[in-house]
């Protein structure tokens, strides 16, 4: 591995340390001032309670203790997990399937690709508006369709239903995401070895066996990366939930980010909100580090 890299001349440093440092400095400084400093400030704030103006009251670690016993924190975290898994089901998996289908077509590939990727360009505000129309109980597409085919009893107010609201939002979120995943998987598939397919076909394998034993292992790396990225990114989600349900009905679609927002801005608990946000950040960092370590270890294998 190391010899190979040296041969390709990639890991050997080329520029002088001084130049490198100077190049990195502006970006790093900006990042520290506008990124790290606010986090430190947030952490300090999380050790106090502060109503948004006036004096801060020292609280030590009580905000954190409170967060661990707060049922809504647990509910929000759970909802984030549901959202993550949901997006994988409604975004990543369809993306994978479509990528395989599309890669095995000749005509029209570009058109389909263009269409499927398109939702990624759309702002979350627009997604929320359009999908709210689709889910509207009076004139929405879903309920009208259900009534038209006689399944009227399934025509409910999706975004106001405690059981289905989260999944309704997940479907909307998945709509923006599957094309993106598909495109990534297609690129990964292009890099696979056609001979392996032919060999498998000669051996008499059917499509599913080929899929499971030939295709997947070759794009394993990219697949893992996409799943991990999706999981982590889903914990930061805010816009689409805020715009479609605001965490409602009740707290059924409340997620960490919207809860933090509410606690700080609505309830004057900026300290507590900061504590919950620090916990969220730590969680995301921890998961990312663990995943990276696992990847490194398996890459070395």
């Amino acid at each position: 591995m190391k010899t190979e890299a040296a041969l390709r001349g990639r890991s050997a440093p080329v520029g002088s340390p001084f130049v490198g440092f100077v190049f990195v400095l502006p970006a790093f400084t900006l990042f520290c001032v506008f990124g790290i400093w606010p986090i430190i400030r947030s952490f300090v704030l999380s050790l106090h309670e502060w109503p948004g103006i006036g004096a801060e009251t020292w609280k030590g670690l009580t905000n954190y203790a409170k967060a661990f016993t707060d049922p809504i924190v647990r509910l929000s975290f759970f909802n984030n997990a549901v959202y993550s898994i949901g997006i994988i089901l409604v975004g990543v998996v369809p993306g994978l399937i479509l990528s395989i289908l599309l890669v095995s077509t000749m005509k029209g590939r570009l058109i389909f690709q263009t269409i499927f990727f398109f939702p990624r360009l759309v702002s979350q505000v627009i997604v929320a508006v359009v999908w709210s129309w689709i889910y509207n109980p009076r004139f929405g597409l879903v309920d009208r369709f259900l009534r038209a085919v006689g399944l009227e009893k399934f025509a409910i107010g999706w975004l106001g239903d405690p059981q289905w609201a989260m999944w309704a939002v997940i479907v909307a979120g998945g709509w923006t995401y599957f094309g993106f995943c598909m495109v990534i998987f297609m690129a990964a598939l292009q890099n696979t070895d056609p001979f392996l397919y032919d060999a498998a076909l000669i051996d008499g394998a059917n499509s599913f066996q080929i899929f499971a034993h030939v295709t997947i292992p070759q794009i394993q790396h990219v697949l893992t990366m996409v799943v991990v990225f999706t999981l982590i990114d889903s914990f930061k989600v805010f816009d689409i939930i805020y715009l479609m349900t605001s965490g409602g009905p009740g707290d059924k679609t409340q997620i960490m980010a919207t809860y933090i927002y509410r606690e700080a801005f609505r309830h004057n608990h900026y300290g507590y909100g900061a504590a919950v946000s620090i916990l969220l950040t730590v969680f995301i960092l921890a998961v990312s580090v663990i995943i990276l370590r696992i990847r490194e270890r398996s890459a070395e294998a």
Binding site: G52, I53, A55, N136, G157, G160, P162, S246, G248, R266
Partner: protein, 442 residues
């Protein structure tokens, strides 16, 4: 190569510089009065936005050395940005916002709200304005704001439909009200245009039913003196409105997914016969209702003989930044907007709102719906009590804004509603955010 690079950089950096420069404000010659309010040109506030623009023009004519810079914003933006802006010294001199202690309390404790007690006496506000307009924005004997824009929450109904079905224009009890609803439903109408998606629908209607079932004295005990809310009447109110009536189909189907614009539409298109909203929607009716007459009735009390109790609001109110550099201009502005007969007339005629100024000048043309609302309220055996939104701490308010749909969808029972409400109240009391527990200086 270098030229290309510099060109690219220039193209990218110059807009950045322009953008920064555009953000700088220039110091002016006259005193600048920064006002933040919520009179945006949207929805039910269009008339009010026109009114305030006229009033402002007139103010600047009367005070030529003051320039008013008014920034209208949504409720939410104000909530987010007011406190940080004030604390960092970039806040407005005058602002129109919620006057509840839950929101303003911390700002008062931090010393940023001007004490208006003396000003109220000097400028004669105590005589000129409705008492409630000064009572609500005051605590521990200190007046800290001027409540503006009295709103009421009766029930608006479609007079044509009611007449056609021979229904009483003013049900005298909940039982009678339910009877009306049944008849409306049988005739194919939606009895109540109400939806639980927007938070103010939930909090207003919840308050409305509570006021109907609970005695005024107990309400005031609870609101002002941290009395108990764990009352059987409270439970009945919630159970009736959000369990019984939902089951009977008195609301728009799937109410938890229905927002205010759709609620309005159902009423305007005559699919629903009654509209659960407040007098702020009169402006909407004036602009949109063409083919039927809108009537006002009071939400009936739980049992016949109990006094009608309607929610009154002071909308939000005007407050003054204690650290303003132009205190006189600020007080002049508030005085003019709230306590002047000419502006009162503009509020009524252009804004379709009831201003806090009591004695409207002769000849003020009040919109008939607004007039009817006022008349109905002045009916015998009718009281008004400020709505919960005016007085409750933020966590209780959050609960009010979402709990109706929780009961509607069976997530909590009415008993659990009562328990949680009481719990949150006690929690806020411990934080000193209720009217009963708030202390101006900590």
């Amino acid at each position: 190569m270098m030229r290309k690079l510099s060109l690219i950089l220039a193209v990218l950096i110059i807009p950045a510089m322009v953008a920064f420069a555009a953000g700088q404000t220039e110091p002016g010659q006259k005193a600048i009065l920064k006002v933040w309010d919520q009179w945006t040109e949207e929805g039910a506030q269009t008339g009010a936005a026109q009114a305030i623009t006229m009033i402002e023009k007139s103010f600047m004519e009367k005070h030529p050395n003051v320039t008013v810079e008014r920034t209208p914003m949504q409720v939410e933006e104000m909530t987010n940005t007011l406190k940080p802006a004030i604390a960092a010294g970039r806040g407005p001199d005058v602002f129109y916002s919620e006057v509840g202690i839950g929101f303003v309390g911390p700002i008062i404790q931090a010393g940023y709200i001007m004490d208006l007690t003396k000003v109220a006496k000097e400028r004669g506000w105590i005589e000129k304005l409705y008492p409630i307009s000064l009572e609500l924005p005051s605590i521990n004997g200190m007046i800290y704001g001027v409540g503006h824009e009295l709103e009421f929450v009766p029930v608006y109904y479609n007079k044509n439909i009611f007449k056609a079905l021979g229904l009483p224009a003013q049900p005298k009890s909940i039982a009678e009200f339910e009877d009306v609803c049944q008849k409306l439903k049988a005739a194919g109408y939606i009895p109540m245009a109400w939806g639980g998606k927007d938070w103010w629908y939930q909090s207003n209607f919840t308050t409305e039913v509570l006021w109907s079932f609970v005695d005024k004295k107990k309400i005031e005990d609870g609101m002002y003196r941290d009395g108990s809310w764990s009352l059987p009447e409270v439970r009945n109110a919630i159970e009736t409105a959000f369990v019984k009536w939902a089951k009977n189909g008195f609301f728009i189907p799937n109410p938890t997914a229905i927002g205010s614009n759709e609620v309005n539409m159902e009423f305007i298109q005559q699919k629903a016969a009654m509209h659960i909203t407040g007098s702020w929607d009169i402006d909407t009716y004036v602009k949109n209702v063409k083919d039927f007459e809108v009537g006002t009735m009071l939400f009936p009390p739980a049992r016949a003989g109990k006094p009608f109790n309607t929610i009154s609001f002071v909308g939000s109110g005007y407050l003054i930044n204690a650290k303003t550099k132009v205190p006189k201009a600020a007080v002049d502005y508030v005085d003019y907007v709230c306590a002047d007969p000419d502006t009162a007339r503009i509020w009524v005629e252009v804004g379709n709102k009831v201003p806090p100024f009591k004695n409207l000048p002769a000849g003020t043309k009040m919109n008939p719906m607004l007039q009817e609302t006022l008349n109905t309220l002045l009916m015998d055996a009718s009281e008004t009590t400020p709505g919960l939104a005016m007085t409750v701490p933020p966590e209780v308010m959050s609960f009010l804004q979402k709990s109706a749909s929780m009961v509607l969808t069976g997530q909590i029972t009415s008993d659990q509603w009562v328990d949680e409400f009481q719990q949150l109240w006690d929690k806020s009391k411990a934080e000193g955010l209720t009217r009963g527990s708030f202390k101006v200086s900590q």
